[in-house]
């Protein structure tokens, strides 16, 4: 009798504790949502670097020194690449110029595709067949590039202070010949009510610094998470295993180990594969004559997006072609490479994809977590709705982790006769 009382009491206790913990963790997740991403990325980085630390440790380097070496290496890589990338990220004025240039080039390419000299003249067979439909699609695309009233005023101020080169001015005037209305964004409509252009340059730099500081203050947690996850010698695992009841102890450990192995292989494999694809595209773009900064940036984008099955290569290709459209004076390093940069990008991405499928993927065995294409598409779209850019990037790893955890727990629970 006494025993059953104790069972009831402990059930009530554990249930209350569980509900309380879930409520507290849920509340913290909502309140501290800005910290979730830095913490996740810290854990991810530590997890991926674990084999490197173990390798250095086996070679006789103390663990703390190995972590410091790795942290230093990461910082240098991020600093060097960051500097290169930041130098190609346009400021407000360059951004406007880039859009003018892109719109002009798009126009030219669109017209030449339809075999027209200008919008009034007769075109080729494509123009006869789908001219109107294509024009509508093209207008939709161009409307993302078109200026709104504020931007027009802003650009006019640059022209008035003669900061704009004659080439850009020519593009701008050409574009004005067939104006396209901009897409109205939500913040634009608010901006219309605000005072127009309160000293553009000063205001922008202030907000950039503020943005930078707020990003630093949350992301500063990442290196700490990274260090403490790496320093940990099984204490975290021990803690979780200690709260598991005896009956599930062996099963819990095995599940933990299997999930750890599968996810570790997947993440490290994906990282390796993405790096190789990014590197291939970077080298390829260099060979077809892209500037080194642009090649690095496109290589990084293509590499990162390559982690998304099916959609990744398209994103990489799109970025490359977008750049190829506005770039001028491309000069391939090797004489037999194509002069047309768009064709060049297409070739580079195709070669990278071929190498990825033929060599990189078979080398990286851990990526054997198969997802149905439908799951990928729905997952990535859902991710973008939930968390924007990060959602797109982290959707597939999250789905893979869930899949591995659930299937492993199911298998182990069956093996230990816990479920039927």
């Amino acid at each position: 009798m006494k025993n059953s009382d104790r069972i009831v009491r402990s059930r009530v206790f554990y249930f209350t504790l569980f509900i309380f913990s879930v409520a507290v963790i849920g509340l913290l997740l909502v309140v501290l949502q800005d910290l979730v991403l830095p913490i996740l990325m810290g854990i991810l980085a530590a997890y991926i670097s674990l084999p490197v630390i173990n390798y250095l440790w086996r070679k006789g380097i103390p663990k703390s020194l190995a972590i410091l070496i790795l942290l230093g290496a990461f910082s240098i890589i991020i600093f060097v690449i960051g500097q290169k990338v930041v130098s190609v990220i346009p400021n407000e004025k360059e951004n406007l110029e880039l859009r003018i240039q892109l719109q002009y080039k798009l126009d030219q390419n669109f017209l030449s595709f339809l075999g027209k000299k200008d919008y009034a003249s007769e075109g080729n067979i494509f123009d006869d067949l789908f001219g109107d439909e294509l024009y509508q699609m093209f207008q939709g695309l161009s409307s993302y590039l078109a200026f709104n009233e504020i931007e027009v005023a802003e650009f006019q101020s640059y022209i008035d202070s003669s900061q704009v080169s004659s080439r850009i001015l020519f593009f701008y005037n050409e574009n004005l010949k067939h104006p396209i209305l901009p897409i109205l964004k939500n913040d634009d409509s608010k901006a219309y009510n605000n005072e127009l252009l309160p000293s553009i340059s000063d205001g922008k730099s202030d907000s950039k610094i503020a943005l930078f500081l707020s990003a630093i203050s949350t992301w500063i947690i990442m290196p700490f998470i990274f260090i403490f996850v790496l320093i940990d010698e099984g204490e975290i695992k021990s803690f979780f295993l200690n709260i598991v009841p005896n009956r599930y102890f062996e099963m819990a450990f095995t599940t933990f180990a299997n999930v750890d192995k599968a996810i570790g292989n997947y993440l490290r494999g994906t990282l390796m594969q993405s790096s190789l694809v990014g590197l291939t595209i970077f080298l390829g773009l260099l060979l077809i004559g892209f500037k080194i900064q642009a090649a690095i940036l496109i290589g990084i984008i293509a590499g990162i997006s390559n982690a998304i099955p099916f959609l990744g290569p398209v994103i990489g290709l799109g970025t490359g072609i977008l750049y190829a459209m506005i770039v001028e004076g491309i000069d391939p390093v090797l004489p037999f490479l194509p002069d047309n940069p768009i064709f060049g990008v297409l070739l580079v991405v195709l070669i990278a994809q071929f190498l990825d499928n033929a060599i990189f993927q078979p080398l990286v065995l851990g990526k054997a977590v198969n997802l149905h294409p439908l799951v990928v598409v729905i997952g990535v779209t859902g991710g973008s709705i939930i968390a924007g850019f990060w959602g797109v990037l982290l959707a597939i790893p999250t789905i893979v982790i869930f899949k591995v955890v659930i299937s492993t727990v199911y298998r182990q629970a069956k093996a230990y006769y816990i479920i039927y």
């Binding site: 173990n54 295993l241 005896n246 102890f249 062996e250 450990f253 095995t254 180990a257 093996a415 230990y416």
Partner: protein
């Protein structure tokens, strides 16, 4: 003043005990196990990092027959019965193990199902060491892992010899009985 000194030394001893006692006793316990007896204290300290302590109540199973084996258990204190179920679903005791004994050590080799169950007959504390951790140890500290594996092989070999002797003994007895039966007929 004297009281203060006393309190201080008391606290010092107390904190010292808390800081050192756990790994000390764990290393001491591990040192007494034949499987790990050849390891130095430094090596045992490394092993103690992945030695998990569990407390079991009377009539609780540490593991049951046919479950996949993942860990070897060392009895820190208490008593464990190795049992097998007969056709009538009754548990037959095969062996009775006490503090310092190990069981389930074949799980360190592979995950084949447990050949018998381990039932706790007195409140028991065990230390579990998992195959997965031992495999990692073989990669990070091959010399320690190698010693354990070597000893495991020796223990398994001794048991095989003992079983072979046992089988031979039984065969002999069966033959004797057969002879006796033939003589009587």
């Amino acid at each position: 003043m004297e009281d203060l000194v006393k309190t201080k030394t008391l606290w010092k001893d107390f904190s010292k005990e808390i800081l050192t006692s756990k790994s000390q006793t764990l290393v001491d316990i591990l040192k007494k196990i034949p499987l790990l007896s050849e390891l130095s204290r430094r090596e045992l300290k490394i092993i103690s990092k992945f030695a998990y302590e569990r407390t079991f109540e009377v009539n609780e199973f540490v593991f049951e027959t046919n479950q996949p084996g993942a860990a070897m258990f060392i009895i820190k204190e208490g008593e464990v019965k190795i049992v097998k179920q007969n056709e009538n679903n009754e548990f037959i005791e095969i062996a009775l193990l006490e503090a310092g004994d190990i069981f389930g050590e074949l799980a360190l080799l592979d995950s084949s199902p447990r050949s018998a169950g381990a039932l706790v007959s007195k409140p028991t504390k065990t230390i579990a060491i998992f195959r997965e951790d031992l495999n990692n140890l073989l990669k990070t500290h091959p010399e320690i892992g190698g010693k354990i594996m070597m000893h495991l092989a020796i223990i398994t070999g001794k048991r095989l010899k003992a079983t072979t002797n046992h089988v031979m003994q039984m065969e002999k007895e069966i033959n004797n009985l057969k002879d006796l039966l033939n003589e009587k007929q």
